[in-house]
Amino acid sequence: MKASNILKKQIIIEIIALFFLIGCLLYSYLAITKKEQNVKEKNGIVMVLDDTAFKKIEPLSDGKGFQTDKITYTITNNSKEIKEYNIIVKFKTSDDTLLNHIKVGIDGLYAYSLNDLEKKENGYILTTNRLEQGFTKVHVFQYWLDNSQNKEISKEEIELSYELEE
């Protein structure tokens, strides 16, 4: 009887451990095989764009604009040299006059009207940076309309695309 109780305990513990192992297996499988969306690599620079939070562009003050949905663009320099890069954003919209009223927040530090930014290849240079080997920089972009506008633009109405230029 006594031996049987001990055996039961051992089995229970082994089952719990097995479940724990299965859980670890599942977690590892997901972690290792997870594919990043919007990942690009170019000349040793890895770029990951996450705009899942971005829903719309609406009229806001600059202060409120910096509280709006963030688009993050993570750059990692896996090459063996220092890289200098520009991040260019391109807009595709049915109404180009809207572009005159769009403001962009960059890294929580700068607020520009789109028209203040340098234009390049039908887009706008959001930021120019220098990244040392092995370093990662996360850029945060936010968009809003200036207060002269009284309507919002949904994500579907305005297509944003990003390019990294060295």
């Binding site: 055996l7 451990a17 192992l21 590892s28 202060g63 910096f66 896996n78 990662t136």
Partner: protein
């Protein structure tokens, strides 16, 4: 016994495998590389984002600050840079423009959150030969009613290297001190200096506190002042009667006179005595406009 060994063995395998898998997963997740980032703080209904740290600025490195007023009312914010040492040669640039008055804070008006001008950004660059750091403080600006503030905004103030001097023929620099009508020389080396009216005649005494030659020269408000200018230009400090100055040369003491300008004399003659006293720069102002009819009245420390 055999059963116990098998049980322990299998448990070890299972736990070992779990640890291995978790380690692999953690390694994969952490393979992001070193990240360089600035600082972001929220305090007192302010959001401050900085390109490096928000409380210190290193010399010769430009730092960007972005401030959002999160309050639903307008406010004035002050940026203080410290410590400012008069002896050190530094230049402070705000958005590329040199700031000449480093004793006063830099002020900005913010509208309420959600309104235009609820956000401002700026860059600071402190140029210095020394490699050091300066403290940065951003807070609500409170205008205290101090004598210092009254002096700084006066029209007849000449500023040089953090010191402020009254100049001209008749500035509004009268102040009540010891029941007498003194006059304010200015804010010099962190204190407010006052000069008395003529107190009497006397020989030059080392222990007396006279106005310095520099104090007197600055009262003319002329850059590149030379001693000969004392007869060509006007100063409020020049009275009908010649009075001793602190400086000496070759055992002769300087004096200031309406008729002689700035001259030297042997010390054993009688000239008029005007005493100089210093009061603290945070002395509170009670009333007055600094005119002879309505002199400043302040709260002295012993009161």
């Amino acid at each position: 016994m055999k059963g116990k060994k098998s049980y322990a063995f299998f448990l070890l395998i299972i736990l070992g495998a779990s640890v291995l898998l978790l380690s692999l997963s953690y390694a994969k997740e952490s393979m992001k590389g070193k990240e360089n980032k600035g600082e972001s703080i929220e305090k007192a209904d302010l959001r401050i984002v900085c390109s490096s740290t928000c409380t210190k600025v290193k010399t010769n490195e430009e730092t960007t600050f972005a401030i959002t007023n999160l309050m639903t009312e307008a406010r004035t914010l002050a940026l203080w840079i410290s410590p400012i040492n008069q002896e050190e040669e530094i230049k402070v640039f705000l958005n590329g423009n040199e700031q000449l008055n480093l004793q006063n804070p830099i002020l900005w008006e913010f509208s309420s959150f959600g309104e235009v001008n609820d956000f401002k950004n700026f860059t600071i660059l402190i140029k210095s030969e020394k490699k050091t750091e300066y403290n940065i403080k951003i807070e609500d600006y409170e205008e205290k009613n101090t004598l210092l503030n009254a002096i700084k905004i006066d029209d007849n103030i000449y500023q040089e290297k953090g010191n402020y001097y009254y100049y001209g023929e008749n500035p509004s620099n009268y102040i009540l001190y010891n029941d007498s009508l003194y006059q304010i020389i200015g804010i010099i080396e962190e204190d407010i200096k006052l000069i008395s009216p003529v107190l009497g005649l006397g020989t030059y005494k080392e222990e007396n506190n006279y106005a310095t030659l520099k104090d007197y020269q600055k009262s003319f408000g002329k850059e590149d002042f030379v001693i000969e200018d004392a007869l060509s230009y006007k100063s409020w400090m020049t009275g009908e009667k010649g009075f001793w100055l602190k400086d000496q040369e070759n055992n002769l003491a300087y004096y200031a006179s309406k008729y002689d300008g700035i001259e030297k004399s042997v010390k054993y003659v009688d000239l008029y005595i005007r005493e100089v006293v210093s009061i603290k720069k945070d002395t509170l102002l009670l009333k007055g406009e600094g005119t002879i009819e309505n002199p400043y009245e302040v709260v002295y420390e012993s009161e």
